[in-house]
């Protein structure tokens, strides 16, 4: 089939009438240009590779004309777009995936499904796995220097020196050292990773404890006081420390840095063109999911370590529940105070948690619940309640 076309030779804007034919070849259709105006001039053949083939955007509503790119030989305009498509198909064109998605609904649907599944699998398993592997190459020196920086910043900001009596500190440190001695030598994820574990005390940030990469664990006066107020034995605090040791030996902070990096870059590229809200939202939600899985992992580690040391985990579970409960009451009280003063303290609280990347708060979600009974705790902190129950039983279904 011969198609009428206008050939521009790339040397001037003047059009020359040509006839265009497509011939099937093993690589794909080749294009033959027959000059019309110059009798005697022979046809020029362009192979599949020598032509920039225009994509078909819409089978039902073709554009008024297409331009075929002949690279250094200029370009050809063709008005009969439907005939051009038919000739291409007849000459054995094999459209690429993008083109098939563009013009065929089933292909688009199939790729959509594949994309959804692939995305889920990648971010559910791929990224954490890659982060785990990459973390093997991170030297402990980097971790400790990061930890020092972070702790310095927090000391300048929200944290104050501990007001616990030195005797009490020494007592807890002794328990901690005894626990650190008991850490199983059994190979876990990073067998050669043995950071020096140390415990420090600070006040501020409510009832909390957090692990810094490189082995430093910080406990606040608030959590020691909370355990004493509830009449819980020191085993509760030791359990919390075991949980934090879990964060250290699983190198959660470093893994989180890698995971968050992959998330921001990957989701930014994939979803950034949809909108910033979607890509940031997806990245935040996935980050939260990773953080939850880290908490579970640290809990499992704590349960195993406490069992190994022949210590109960139930007090720790009760402490967790009590702190979440207190936090909720405190939030209620704060809300009342806020109305009296009219200052947005929520922003301040948010800033203080944001400036401290490492801490892992016991009751993470700060939601606005109104009433006090336990069922409200259950609705606003389901994760905490479930974790506390697992710790009280000393066994969790997800721990291997």
């Amino acid at each position: 089939m011969l198609l009428q076309g206008r050939w521009f030779d790339g040397l001037s804007s003047k059009a020359r009438p040509v006839m265009v034919a497509l011939q099937p070849t093993p690589q794909g259709p080749s294009l033959v240009l027959h000059p019309v105006s110059q009798p005697g001039a022979g046809p020029t053949v362009f192979t599949w590779k020598q032509v920039g083939w225009p994509e078909a955007w819409n089978e039902n509503r073709p554009p008024p004309r297409v331009v075929v790119d002949l690279r250094d030989h200029g370009s050809v305009e063709i008005d009969a777009v439907a005939d051009w498509r038919a000739a291409l198909a007849a000459a054995g064109e094999r459209p690429g995936l993008a083109q098939r998605m563009q013009t065929r609904w089933p292909v688009l649907l199939g790729v959509t499904v594949a994309a959804a599944i692939g995305l889920t699998l990648f971010y559910r398993y791929g990224t954490p796995w890659a982060a785990t592997q990459l973390t093997r190459f991170v030297p402990i020196g980097w971790e400790t220097s990061v930890a020092e920086n972070v702790l310095q910043q927090m000391d300048d900001g929200t944290l104050k020196p501990s007001k616990l009596p030195p005797a009490r500190q020494a007592q807890l440190k002794a328990r901690f050292d005894a626990l650190a001695q008991q850490t199983p030598a059994a190979p876990h994820r990073y067998p050669s990773y043995r950071p020096p574990l140390s415990l420090e005390f600070r006040s501020g940030m409510g009832a909390n404890a957090f692990a810094l990469p490189g082995g430093k664990i910080v406990m606040t006066d608030g959590i020691v006081k909370a355990a004493a107020d509830k009449g819980l034995p020191d085993d509760a605090l030791v359990g919390v420390l075991a949980h934090e040791i879990g964060h250290v030996v699983h190198r959660h902070t470093t893994r989180m840095v890698v995971e968050q990096g992959v998330l921001n870059v990957g989701l930014g590229l994939a979803l950034g063109d949809v909108s910033g809200i979607v890509s940031t939202g997806a990245s935040v939600l996935t980050g939260l999911a990773y953080s939850r899985s880290h908490e579970r992992e640290a809990d499992c580690y704590a349960i195993a370590l406490m069992r190994h040391a022949a210590l109960p985990t139930a007090p720790m579970g009760r402490l967790l529940l009590a702190i979440a409960h207190d936090e909720e009451e405190e939030e209620d009280a704060q809300k009342k105070k806020k109305t009296a003063q009219g200052t947005p303290q929520a922003a301040e609280a948010a800033a203080s948690t944001a400036s401290a990347p490492a801490p892992r708060s016991k009751g993470q979600a700060r939601k606005e619940a109104e009433a006090h009974p336990v069922w409200s705790l259950l609705s606003s902190h389901p994760e905490t309640v479930r974790r506390a129950r697992e710790l009280e039983q000393g066994h969790a279904p997800h721990c291997s």
């Binding site: 790339g10 040397l11 001037s12 804007s13 554009p63 949809v274």
Partner: protein
């Protein structure tokens, strides 16, 4: 027929001896929002599946869709960039980004500083590469567009960037001269990083700061003017060069009008907020039961809403500026003595369209974006008419330099210079 030589400079109009008839060709866009949505969703899906590596292919498809549906005097534009070069540029850019992120995340301040400094010094280069790539990849009736500015010209046109650095250097030291306390406070802040009360702020310091800000704005406008004029004057279609008429004051006027629009919008927003806030507080005071909780909700909503409204308030001004700038450029540029453009874009309508698109895009979490893009592109493009003297087939080709690499495009993409629009 194609033997006319272009005038050497972009100087005054050349009188042609023979009266030639002038044809008007309104530019036309033959694509549609629905079609482009399909193009876009395919790109998004393939980007997801390939973890973002599809980006250079996606950029090429998008450009080809828009170019292929843009009819200039009946002939579509062609986007002929080589895919291989675009991919190489993308890979190179990704490597640079990864190196930079590594430097930031491992706290290597020297490396980060070097990156930022070379980025600033290379900014004119990046801009010029992007323009070279963009024009070089565009073809119309077989003729390639070209951006022929030399690197020297580009850096000379970039003088406002360096003037800007000088201005802020002077402001900084002038401040310290005017107020010795400030220097001390700065030193103290460096040592402790803690908040301190600022020293007394004298009118002289205020004046200096204001002067600095005004000069900054003037520098930015000058930079935009320099770049736009260089782009048009050094653009070539075949052997024909671009013509440029606007002067610097035209740009300043557009900017002043934009500021006026912005102030009006902000005043409007403030008025509506105060009415809303006043009524809601009155409503709450009436029902003092559970006041605390609701007060919290109101404050929260007010902060979020306020930020959102500020964003909204700047939107009309941004759209207005874009429309005015588009009119200015397309009413005052041409191609040597062969072609002139005329633009009848209406600023009000364009602002309205942009606001509508923004609202729909927010409501659909971004899914409306392709439709928005097509409608804005169409309104701008179809407002332009090309007036050609002596027919469209008279333009002679010129020696085209070797085609540009794709790094310019990738860098431009990273810098937020969009291929379409």
């Amino acid at each position: 027929m194609s033997q006319q030589q272009p005038s050497a400079g972009a100087g005054g109009p050349m009188s042609t001896f023979m009266p030639l008839n002038i044809d008007a060709h309104p530019l036309e866009f033959t694509g549609s929002g629905g079609e482009y949505f399909r193009v876009w969703i395919v790109n998004v899906l393939l980007s997801i599946v390939t973890l973002g590596i599809y980006t250079p292919w996606a950029r090429r498809r998008t450009a080809q869709y828009f170019y292929g549906h843009t009819l200039v005097a009946g002939s579509p534009l062609e986007f002929t960039a080589q895919q291989r070069k675009m991919v190489m540029g993308f890979v190179l850019l990704m490597l640079i980004t990864i190196a930079y992120q590594l430097a930031v995340n491992t706290g290597q301040d020297t490396a980060v500083g070097l990156f930022l400094l070379s980025g600033a010094l290379l900014a004119p280069y990046i801009w010029a590469s992007a323009m070279r790539f963009r024009l070089g990849a565009t073809r119309w009736r077989g003729l390639r567009l070209q951006f022929t500015a030399s690197w020297k010209e580009v850096y000379i046109a970039s003088w406002p960037v360096f003037a800007l650095a000088l201005v802020w250097f002077c402001v900084f030291f002038g401040m310290q001269m005017l107020s010795p306390d400030l220097a001390q406070v700065l030193e103290a802040a460096e040592e402790e990083g803690a908040k301190r009360t600022l020293p007394s702020f004298t009118p002289a310091m205020g004046g200096l700061l204001a002067l600095g800000l005004v000069l900054t704005v003037l520098c930015f406008i000058r930079l935009e003017y320099n770049y736009k004029s260089l782009l048009v004057l050094r653009a070539q279609v075949g052997a024909e060069r671009g013509r440029w008429k606007p002067v610097y004051m035209d740009f300043v006027k557009v900017w002043l009008a934009t500021v006026a629009v912005f102030i009006l919008c902000v005043l409007g927003v403030i008025a509506s907020i105060s009415i809303l806030a006043g009524s809601s507080i009155a409503l709450l005071a009436a029902s003092s039961d559970r006041l605390g909780f609701w007060m919290f909700v109101v404050i929260f909503v007010a902060i979020i809403g306020g930020m959102f409204l500020l964003f909204l308030a700047s939107a009309p001004a941004r759209a207005y500026r874009e429309a005015r700038m588009f009119q200015l450029l397309w009413n005052n540029t041409g191609l040597s003595h062969v072609a002139r453009f005329k633009c009848h874009l209406r600023s009000g309508r364009y602002v309205g369209l942009r606001l509508k698109n923004m609202l729909f895009t927010l409501l659909t979490l971004g899914l409306y974006r392709p439709f928005a893009r097509v409608s804005e592109y169409r309104m701008k493009l179809e407002s332009v008419t090309l007036h050609v003297k002596g027919g469209v087939d008279q333009v002679a080709g010129a020696m085209v330099r070797h085609q540009q690499g794709g790094l310019g495009d990738a860098l431009a993409d990273a810098a937020g210079l969009d291929l379409i629009g």
